[in-house]
Symmetry: C2
Subunit: 122 residues, 2 copies
């Protein structure tokens, strides 16, 4: 059930207009959760809320399958990523990463080209 509540929150996709025409940044967080997720849901909810309030935050995309998640957050520039990186609550969350994750890969990327196609009917 905890697994389901964790995964159900994470089905967001970026919509038209959320990303700028100029270059922006993506932070790819690819993770595999451990069996010990004590405290995760509360911290996840809190850090998501705080991240969304950050200056320069643009949006996120995320998909989960079982204990694996690909989570991508989008940011205006490196300054906004850096400001979020040193946020005290975010730092506290990161100190628990060794408990919550078996494995994670964190990548900071400059998005040089992007193309969105949408064809929703009805």
């Amino acid at each position: 059930m905890v697994e389901n509540s964790i995964n159900n929150k994470r089905k967001n996709m970026i919509a038209k207009g959320q990303l700028p025409d100029s270059a922006y940044y993506a932070v790819i967080f690819s993770s595999e959760k451990s069996e010990n997720m004590d405290g995760y849901l509360e911290m996840d909810e809190l850090t998501m809320k705080l991240a969304m309030e950050q200056k320069g935050y643009l949006g996120y995309e995320s998909l989960s399958n079982g204990n694996k998640t690909l989570f991508i957050s989008y940011w205006e520039n490196m300054d906004s990523i850096q400001a979020w990186r040193v946020n005290a609550t975010h730092q506290m969350a990161k100190s628990k990463a060794g408990q919550w994750y078996k494995r994670y890969l964190s990548q900071i990327c400059l998005v040089k080209q992007s193309h969105l196609y949408e064809n929703y009917v009805g």
Copy 2:
């Protein structure tokens, strides 16, 4: 069943040693499939095989949930991405994108920093 065969193929995660210490590129392909997936599986298998043979191809990560997929391929440099982009089979696959996808977002990114943590026991 087709949905399952499509999704089950896509659970790969990048392993230690697959990514270089220097800067490299990520192509994030975030998609939502349509109901008309005729010909998709064969083309997906073929393009994956061809992509993996490309010079400069490093690996991929992918997760699917329902008809949504986040697929990230990693490349040594822009030249390798460009070479794959103009590949005839890849071009043919892309010409079918309007049939197979309700929506996709394709982003070419320069990965500036990455950090991998692994803690597998047993």
